[in-house]
């Protein structure tokens, strides 16, 4: 990683429209490591790799290829803050690379709009970049505030690692790379069963109750194995676990009270970024009580 690495930033629709605090924490962390972002003008939704692709793969693939074609005009690679967007872009690249007639069809449509998709653009996921290019050692060397042994459950989510033959990163059944980062920042990264269980988010619009049940099961497992917080890397999973946590507690009758932190929030706090600058009040499930406990000398932004 050069100190002056830069990326075009692809926030994704959920962070753009609903979760600006997650972008804030990402920018705060990357700023510490001298990484610059520029905006990507003219983009659309990635789009959603499940709902949009499910109804019409051609629409999904064409919009994805258009975004990739726009990003490809920049000299810098593109970074996503969302595992859904990452999944769409990586999967679209894979399909366009392996099927020449699909590529031709997509490029015919794009040509009419003034674009051309050519393979080869590097798309980066923020968490993958942190793990691979910054790394636990460098994070630890910049740490000012340890998480003081806090037991934390990592939720990888499905689309960061799978399909593993495309993503080629960590074990798709039992990943461990994120835990190493958390440990470097002083937390206890918990081992808990069914670590790769889905959060249920994609079927929120189809069967809301089942979707909520799935999210609840996951949080219940984390909680019963001692988690005091959850760290994750996808805004869809975040919406399930943070925004809907109160609904789960009401529906299923168990108090969870599990703060949900984006990986970049977790890192930013350990690097001494003031909690009051991170918009933590935008979490629906309280995080500030925990942060006051761990970092009593800090202003948690109440």
């Amino acid at each position: 990683m050069g100190e002056n690495s830069s990326f075009t930033l692809y926030e994704g629709c959920l962070i753009r429209a609903r979760l600006p605090h997650l972008e804030k924490s990402a920018r705060a962390v990357f700023d510490r490591f001298g990484i610059q972002f520029s905006g990507l003008e003219g983009a659309s939704c990635c789009p959603d790799p499940i709902g949009i692709r499910g109804v019409d793969e051609e629409t999904w693939l064409t919009l994805a290829a258009r975004n990739l074609a726009i990003a490809g005009r920049h000299s810098t690679p593109m970074m996503t803050l969302c595992s859904g967007c990452y999944s769409t872009f990586r999967h679209a690249e894979h399909l366009l690379a392996k099927n020449a007639s699909v590529l031709e069809k997509v490029n015919n449509t794009l040509h009419a709009l003034g674009y051309r998709y050519s393979p080869g653009l590097a798309v980066e996921h923020f968490a993958r970049f942190i793990i691979e290019k910054i790394g636990a050692d460098k994070l630890a060397s910049q740490m000012t505030d340890s998480w003081k042994g806090l037991p934390v459950a990592v939720h990888y989510g499905c689309h960061f690692l799978r399909p593993s033959h495309i993503m080629q990163f960590d074990d798709p059944e039992n990943p461990t790379k994120m835990e190493a980062l958390l440990r470097a920042l002083g937390a206890e990264a918990l081992d808990y069963p069914q670590k790769m269980l889905c959060c249920g988010s994609p079927i929120q619009g189809i069967d809301a109750e089942l979707s909520l049940r799935m999210a609840y099961e996951k949080l219940r497992l984390m909680k019963s194995h001692g988690a005091k917080a959850v760290v994750l890397i996808c805004p869809s999973c975040y919406l399930q676990f943070d925004v809907l946590q109160k609904s789960m507690e009401q529906k299923f009758g168990l108090s969870l009270e599990l703060p949900i932190l984006y990986l970049t929030e977790f890192i930013a706090l350990a690097l001494g970024v003031p909690p009051s600058s991170l918009g933590l009040h935008l979490h629906r499930t309280d995080t500030r009580r925990l942060i006051r406990e761990i970092f009593p000398e800090k202003d948690s932004g109440d």
């Binding site: 429209a17 003219g42 449509t109 269980l197 918009g279």
Partner: protein
């Protein structure tokens, strides 16, 4: 149905499913199947092997796949079960059956370019957090152009017509569940 069979053939589904010996690892690892007996990826593959997909295409349950990709990772025969499910969903949509929430997503994207758009409040919060202005997104004329190139309106019209028929016919969910368990 002939058109659909052609579509599935184009997608090479029978060939992609051929190595399945119905071990059920896909169903065993399925987080939706755990709660819903009418969702069984093994049976989706079986129906393709039997060249009988009529039931799946009409059935609501196929839209319950969360695309967690566990089945794809675990299949001992390396069948990409979740990819087959995507193609079945596409075929169902061409046949006029898609979950309403997903059709809505399509309409929103083709209207604004995004699944969700920031409200004024969120734009204000972005400012308060010191975040830069969001870059301009895709414009509507380009979206319209793309939609026409993709025959998108026609695809949505098929869904609308069939949706109206289905709600007029009050297709009973429990009834279709029973039908599914008989397949097993």
């Amino acid at each position: 149905m002939e058109v659909l069979k052609q579509f599935l053939k184009e997608q090479d589904l029978p060939q992609r499913a051929r190595a399945c010996y119905q071990c059920g690892v896909c169903a065993g690892g399925c987080p939706v199947g755990r709660w819903r007996s009418d969702f069984n990826p093994r049976l989706f593959v079986l129906n393709i092997l039997r060249d009988d997909i009529t039931e799946i295409l009409d059935h609501h349950s196929i839209w319950l796949c969360t695309s967690c990709l566990t089945c794809l990772e675990r299949c001992p025969q390396k069948i990409e079960v979740s990819e087959i499910v995507v193609q079945l969903k596409n075929a169902a949509a061409r046949n006029g059956n898609a979950a309403e929430s997903e059709v809505k997503k399509h309409r929103e994207i083709m209207k604004t370019g995004w699944l969700q758009n920031p409200t004024k409040r969120i734009l204000r919060v972005r400012q308060e957090l010191g975040l830069p202005e969001l870059p301009e997104g895709i414009g509507s004329s380009e979206l319209n152009h793309m939609a026409s190139r993709l025959d998108w309106q026609e695809k949505m019209e098929t869904l609308r017509k069939r949706g109206a028929q289905m709600s007029a016919g009050h297709e009973d969910h429990d009834e279709s569940k029973k039908r599914d368990s008989r397949v097993d």
